[in-house]
């Protein structure tokens, strides 16, 4: 037995957490991983990080650069040298850029991993260097909330620290399931502490989740996509009993009268009573009224807004409505309250609060993205909402990537996409409408992928480059969101096989093209970033692997704005919280994007005529033991995270389906084969599939893998939300 070294490290996927770990290395091999005891029990990891080495050493790790030799998507590859692989990529990029312009190259990177230097999104910098790229707009996770937050508050980092939940008298987990989705490493800890303090916790969700079981005293099941209706009728009750914080509304908000007229029915003749909402949501009117009364009386109270309800065809309305309830109850800017809406806290940064990042990359990485020559001088997109979303016309919405490839300029898109470049992304699997994605990828001239594994997306690559994991390089990590700490993740082992970091690959590729991707080394960047976040003793930070930023008290979003509104206006045009948004009104699509939050039914909702054929509402939820599609190939996680669809006994019995039966979930976009979990833990009329299982079609096209996105529609909400929870399906036994 050799000497065992213990390297402080991290688990930093896009899972909702960023957790300090210790990696044990013997003879150059990781033998075990433990929770790094930094003296803070709230920063313990989840099951995935603790067995990360089984992912690192998985037999199917990509070992060498490879070149496609079969049909695209067939998965047949031949090993090539790095020199040949990078030479081919450099040549193809040059050819495609020169023949069609840089907008023919679409950056379809995923959120494979986060680090301040090493981050899958650094591809944007590289493609800007070579002349530009087509970028996407719309975050798959949260765009409904992002839009709503900018419209309402003028900012996205509006949330309170999780530790502040200890000051709440009541917490509503709305479509939020941090027991499984983590959502801030600290969240599980503080919800547990709050519950034990006697804080009342309520869970509104179509499923009785682990979070509902762990923390809530009451589960309120709701039909997916109808959350805004319930919130609006809660506002009705608060108004009816006159318990709104009128002083707060008068001082800090604009447009409450317009919202009130909608709620009371003065505007449209329909009073948004709990009886009205019951018919839509399936939640008993009495339950809605009681919750509204309790919430209004429980100040301070926090609504923890999950992002899942926002991933529906009118998802931004849900986020706007939660913000409005928070304002009506005066819970904004105070300890124990919440702004709701997007409910996000910028981690670690000394710039918490009303800050809007220039772009997504700046949110996740400190390596400058540079500017995209393609968007220079371009007019604004048709989906522009001035000051909230100012995308230029060249950008493609995340859900429309497949359509853009298939239809190009003749379909109204800015460019004809000829090439996809992907780092740490499994878009075929993780973006809506997988079968359409297959057709789109087949049409490309060239596709390059950096990954750890032969994912369903990687199979379509022309050149496939093996990337290393964070165990094989040095990095600095933020919390995912929430919390104020930095982690130094030391290189535990040399890159396995011929793998390299994405940073190194891009450096070498740039040199091949006569360009300089980075004028600093990994070590130089990391030292610079650490200093930026206030680390004074860099060597100690490296040795400890952990740095806690001191916070005098839990951060409260908009505390300054509430304490002294004259000196500290909200970063909106009116300087106030915009319950009515003139910027949205100017967008002039009132039926789909109203200027005050409303319940509006979008496509594939409760009364869609398609229901005759596809009567069940599909939701695609986050699994406990996968991170999106990551870990699906690691046996322990795969066995314990069964590929199953939840269905209520009422729906199962009607279809002669028993627990553990193999079923087909289908609609006009495709069909998946999956095991049925017949359970009382889901509201009737709804089917839930854990997203992230790997697409594996049989010759007839039936997906044996159980990939949820075979069933989702590649359409976005008017605010830009991914609508992965808005799809209608039928289920049958097979």
């Amino acid at each position: 037995m050799g000497l065992v070294k213990v390297i402080p490290s991290v688990c930093g996927h896009d899972c909702g957490g960023s957790c300090p770990l210790n990696v044990y290395v013997e003879d150059g091999r990781i033998i075990k991983i433990e929770s790094h005891d930094v003296g803070l029990p709230e920063l313990r990891p989840c099951a995935r990080g603790l067995q990360y080495h089984y992912r690192v050493y998985a037999p199917d790790r990509l070992k060498y650069p490879m070149k496609r030799i079969g049909e695209r998507g067939e998965g047949k590859f031949a090993r090539v040298s790095w020199d040949e692989a990078l030479g081919e990529v450099a040549e193809q990029i040059t050819c495609i850029r020169d023949a069609y312009g840089p907008a023919a190259i679409l950056n379809h990177t995923g959120s494979g991993y986060f680090g301040r230097l090493h981050y899958s999104g650094i591809l944007a910098r590289f493609l800007n260097l070579i002349g530009g790229q087509t970028l996407r707009w719309g975050g798959a996770s949260y765009q409904g909330g992002y839009f709503a937050s900018l419209a309402t508050y003028g900012a996205i980092f509006t949330g309170n620290d999780r530790s502040d939940l200890l000051n709440s008298k009541m917490i509503i987990l709305w479509g939020s399931n941090p027991a499984e989705s983590i959502f801030g490493t600290e969240t599980r800890w503080y919800l547990t502490q709050a519950k034990e303090k006697g804080t009342k916790i309520i869970c509104v969700d179509p499923r009785y989740t682990e979070s509902a079981a762990a923390w809530s005293s009451r589960w309120i099941p709701i039909r997916p996509g109808t959350d805004a209706a319930m919130l609006v009728s809660m506002a009705y009750i608060i108004l009816e009993q006159g318990s709104q914080s009128q002083d707060f509304l008068d001082t800090y908000t604009v447009g409450f009268d317009k919202f009130r007229d909608y709620v009371t029915g003065a505007a449209d003749g329909v009073a948004k009573t709990p009886d009205w909402a019951e018919k839509i949501t399936g939640v008993p009117a009495k339950t809605i009224a009681t919750l509204a009364q309790e919430y209004a009386a429980a100040k301070p109270a926090a609504i923890i807004t999950g992002w899942a309800p926002g991933r529906s065809s009118r998802g931004e309305q849900y986020h706007r409505a939660t913000a409005t309830l928070s304002a009506m109850t005066g819970n904004i800017g105070i300890h124990g309250g919440s702004t709701a809406c997007l409910d996000l806290t910028m981690s670690a940064s000394p710039l918490v609060g009303a800050e809007v990042p220039e772009n997504y990359v700046a949110l996740y990485s400190d390596l400058p993205q540079l500017t995209n020559p393609v968007e220079k001088g371009q007019p604004l997109h048709e989906y522009t909402v001035n000051g909230i979303r100012n995308h230029t016309i060249d950008k493609v919405h995340f859900t429309k990537v497949w359509d853009a490839i298939l239809r190009g300029k003749t379909g109204g898109y800015f460019s004809d996409i000829k090439m996809l470049y992907i780092i740490g992304g499994n878009g075929l699997n993780q973006c809506c409408n997988t079968n359409k994605a297959v057709k789109a990828l087949e049409k490309l001239e060239f596709m390059v992928v950096h990954d750890h594994f032969m994912t369903p997306t990687a199979k379509f690559a022309d050149i496939l480059l093996p990337a290393c994991t964070w165990c094989e390089r040095n990095g600095i990590h933020f919390p995912w969101f929430f919390g104020h700490y930095l982690i130094y993740a030391g290189k535990a082992i040399e890159p396995l096989y011929e793998s390299k970091s994405d940073f190194d690959i891009l450096n070498q590729l740039a040199s091949k093209m006569g360009l300089c991707f980075s004028d600093k080394t990994e070590a130089e960047w990391l030292r610079l970033f650490a200093a930026k976040y206030g680390v004074t003793d860099y060597e100690a930070f490296k040795a400890d692997g952990f740095y806690k930023l001191k916070m005098p008290e839990p951060h409260v979003g908009f505390k300054k704005q509430i304490e002294d509104p004259t000196r500290n206006p909200f970063p909106t045009p009116s300087g106030k919280i915009e319950l009515f948004s003139q910027r949205i009104a100017d967008f002039n699509r009132p039926d789909e994007l109203p200027s005050v939050p409303k319940y509006i039914e979008g496509w594939e909702g409760p009364t869609d005529p398609k229901r005759e054929q596809y009567p069940l509402q599909l939701i695609t939820v986050h699994p406990l033991l996968r991170i999106h599609s990551q870990h699906d190939n690691v046996p322990w996680f795969r066995e314990r995270q069964p590929r199953e669809a939840w269905i209520n006994p009422a729906d199962a019995t009607a279809r002669n389906i028993k627990d553990r039966d193999r079923i087909m979930v289908s609609n006009d976009r495709g069909a998946i084969s999956i095991l049925a979990k017949v359970t009382e833990r889901i509201i009737p009329g709804t089917v839930s599939v854990f997203q992230g299982a790997w697409y594996d079609p049989d010759p007839s096209g039936l997906d044996r893998g159980g990939c949820a996105n075979v069933l989702t529609l590649d359409e976005h909400s008017p605010g830009g939300a991914f609508c992965s929870n808005a799809a209608l399906v039928q289920v049958e036994k097979i």
Binding site: S35, R48, L50, Y208, E210, A214, L624, W636, R640, E680
Partner: protein, 191 residues
Amino acid sequence: MQIGFYYDQSRCIGCDVCSSACRSWNELTPEMPDIIELVSRENGVFPEVSLTHLFLTCFHCAEPSCIPACPDRLLVKRAEDGIVVIPNPEKCTACQLCVEACPYNAPRMVDGGKVGMVKCDMCLARLDEGKAPACVASCPVEALDAGPMEELIAKYGEFMELEGFADYRQTRPSIIFRARDSGRGLDTRIF
């Protein structure tokens, strides 16, 4: 002295961290079984449902039924701390008699019973360094604790019974509980 566990069922969020941490620390290769199993049970009818977890591993019983069951007497209860260990696992013939004897299904057969047995040893090496067992040190909500039974009892009380948990009088397992408040209908056939 007897080292034992505390399990707070009301805190447990069913996240499998205990089991994963155990696998990692004990270097269990993929073909090895879990030493810790978190068993979950759904109860009730929509919308009045509940979900209960139970932490199952070796509880280092005061009167272990596995020790007399082993024909080769491979299992040993340590005098100094009461931890039940298998010092020479390579001698295990995988007869499975210990598995049958244990009310908690704690000894786990490797590779379907062809190779031998694994079970919890309270992470002895960690205890020697003054660290808690890997499961305890990793639980994100501190639903687990380990230590001398008299200390655990002083800290958490003396609840030895949990609905659905095998009668503690059989083997006197070294575990105390805090029950989930609802505590409804755990199926005894499962646990």
